[in-house]
Assembly symmetry: C2
Homo-oligomer: 228 residues x 2
DNA sequence: CGGGGCATGATTGTTCACAATAAAGTTGAC
DNA sequence: GTCAACTTTATTGTGAACAATCATGCCCCG
């Protein structure tokens, strides 16, 4: 597919390299759900051995991003609407926990970073740059989990966010969703800045509730379009 | 180590077989944290190829049960007290979500199963069978997630519970913990039986709060014992 | 014209051998 | 006796070949 490949990775970093590259390709949308992942192709793409590709795929399967059928290879997992809702619900529960820790542990510079992302988000919202907003949205949540310092929740959230990649930017498409999302983000930052874990969790709960509603709305619209 | 091995698995089930067996050995305490997992030994133990062992280890690493260092192989991951607390917190958040769904979706027979586990737990508590109680405790939570019908949360909880295996039965050792745990379980079943998600979540929150406190207590005692 | 069986190709699961690396053990000098 | 450099050994990472399985296309028969 893409004959351009990075330099041949050294011994020992083959599997990790393949894993990270596959993950990035997924996040950047270069791999669409349902797409087959043929091992020999990945070998050519990443310049690693088949064993490395194989274990990387096993890891991605464990993570829930890829599904493998016996003797039939791996493909990018396709989420049903129910699964997307489930993942978002799990994310919600964990993001609430994370933001609580973030409020407890945020340093002044962390709040500065959040405010900067907020500023960029507002700019994107003003100019109608939905893709840019979606990217800032991702960065916002990622930054919050980083600030939380909660390694376990961070790991779980990272995995869940990767799985949601296909729906991520579709949820902000709902009319008026961007403005509400931005407001909700502001509320979260305010709570974190004042080191109030309860308020932070409450604000996050409102936010993820809004995202869930948006997702359900998008899903309904998609379903309606599919049955004319 | 254990030369007794199950029948040679057929083609295609090597990796899965190895993964499940390793996982079971971990849960049954036959593998202790810090223990090295030499690939050739596992090959002999499970009668599968080294490639299968390799990918199984990769999956277990992704799951957080095993850690691997470059060129130095895999070993059962050893949890610090902080990590144990983190995992328990993540579990708490997800168990609350799961029990909410369980309350919404429980059928009459599901409640019967829970009541039966409760009965057995009470018997164990009465006779002072801590190990038996710990096992019923595990079954109780597992059953709740099954009833929830929430596949995503079930998967995450399963993974987190596996990681906690070393601390699981130590938390119930705290004096008086068994009785409180049993009462809390009863409250959860009552809420689920009356299909009240809010009450179920609240009861679960109390329960996991108690477990967390017990863990912190045990950890403190262990730390005190380590520094005489 | 349609469908079942059969060859064919593509792709995966597995095995083996080999190179690379880190840990342990050994030797030797000071 | 101790420490450093070297050797040995155990174990992992990797590559290539082989076998098993699935998908595809074809042919022959009805």
């Amino acid at each position: 597919m893409s004959p351009i490949r990075a330099r041949r990775p050294k011994r020992g970093e083959g599997e990790g390299h393949c894993y990270r590259e596959l993950r990035r390709a997924l996040l950047e949308g270069r791999l669409v759900p349902g797409q087959r992942l043929v091992e020999t192709e990945l070998v050519r793409m990443f310049g690693v051995g088949r064993a490395a590709v194989r274990t990387a795929l096993a890891r991605l399967e464990q993570e829930g991003v890829v599904e493998r059928a016996l003797n039939r290879g791996a493909r990018v997992r396709l989420l049903t609407e129910e699964e997307a809702v489930e993942i978002l619900e799990a994310r919600a529960a964990l993001e609430c926990l994370a933001v609580r820790y973030a409020a407890l542990r945020a340093r002044a510079e962390d709040v500065q970073v959040l405010r900067e992302i907020l500023r960029e988000s507002a700019e994107c919202a003003r100019t109608g740059d939905l893709l840019g907003y979606s990217e800032r949205n991702g960065r916002f949540h990622q930054e919050l989990t980083r600030i939380s310092g909660h390694a376990t929740v961070a790991r779980l959230l990272d995995s869940l966010r990767t799985q949601m990649v296909r729906y991520q930017y579709r949820t902000v498409m709902a009319p008026g969703r961007v403005e509400r999302s931005l407001q909700e983000h502001r509320a979260i930052v305010t709570a974190v800045a004042s080191r109030d874990p309860d308020a932070a969790e409450a604000a996050m709960r409102v936010h993820v509730g809004g995202v869930l509603e948006a997702l359900r709305h998008v899903a309904r619209r998609t379903a309606a379009a599919a049955v004319p």
